[in-house]
């Protein structure tokens, strides 16, 4: 039986990755604004709100920074 073997070339450039990353950042900013608006407007316990914001933003920033670092690394490995 003949073995199927295709060669596909899809060039993933750092610019494309930065564009995808930018889109994710915009979605993240909109979602975060909506959630923070609700916590601030309808939530009442200041301690709760501060703790949740701290956890949410610290972890998110770590993930976004890791993504930015990986894109930079990807660009660097191409050179």
């Amino acid at each position: 039986m003949p073995r199927i073997n295709w060669n596909l070339t899809v060039t993933v450039t750092p610019l494309l990755l930065w564009l995808v990353f930018g889109t994710i950042c915009v979605i993240y900013a909109v979602m975060s604004w909506i959630m923070v608006y609700h916590w601030d407007t309808f939530g009442y316990n200041v301690k709760h709100k501060l703790r949740v914001k701290l956890i949410y933003f610290v972890v998110s920033v770590i993930m976004l920074s890791a993504m930015a670092l990986l894109i930079w690394l990807y660009g660097a490995t191409l050179k």
Binding site: F42, S60, M63, M67, L78
Partner: protein, 181 residues
Amino acid sequence: MIQLNSDEIVVFEIRKHWFYIFWRALALLIVTAIIAGGVYLAVYFSSRYFQLNIGGSYEIIFALGFLAVLLIAWMSFFAFWTKYYLDYWVVTNERIVDVDLMGFFHQETAVVRLDQIQDVTIRVNGFFQNIFGFGTIQIQTAGESREFIMPNITNPEGVKETIFRLQNEAMEKPKKVEIAV
């Protein structure tokens, strides 16, 4: 936040049981693992049949995709948590206030006065509700909306007892009657 009357005090606030949010978090975790694992396995097995040249490191692209899925799962978890956090009941010595976040930018508040309560029914249904001690409280009222439902409440028996005690106290309390002269 609700506005209290002059001699009204908050007796307790109650939310849905933590199991409600835990269940959603678990489902989210499973979906994230399936997406990440599925993509990894798809790339691994498809490499037998075709070669994909992306021009750079596959590992970095995969790690990026995984992080993106993780970030979306993280945001989704907090969207669930927001719904959980902003859905609550406030029981005062005069009434029960149901604050319900129906969706983003849509909050509804319903009130039932303690003297309008006719009957309180508890429904603890299924394995998890019995093991973790939560259930649904149904309050029949004499008001316009005949039924007031508090689903997945922690310790429904205790809540029912407290509601009855507060209702008795509210009934015994002499009512202020203002007479216009």
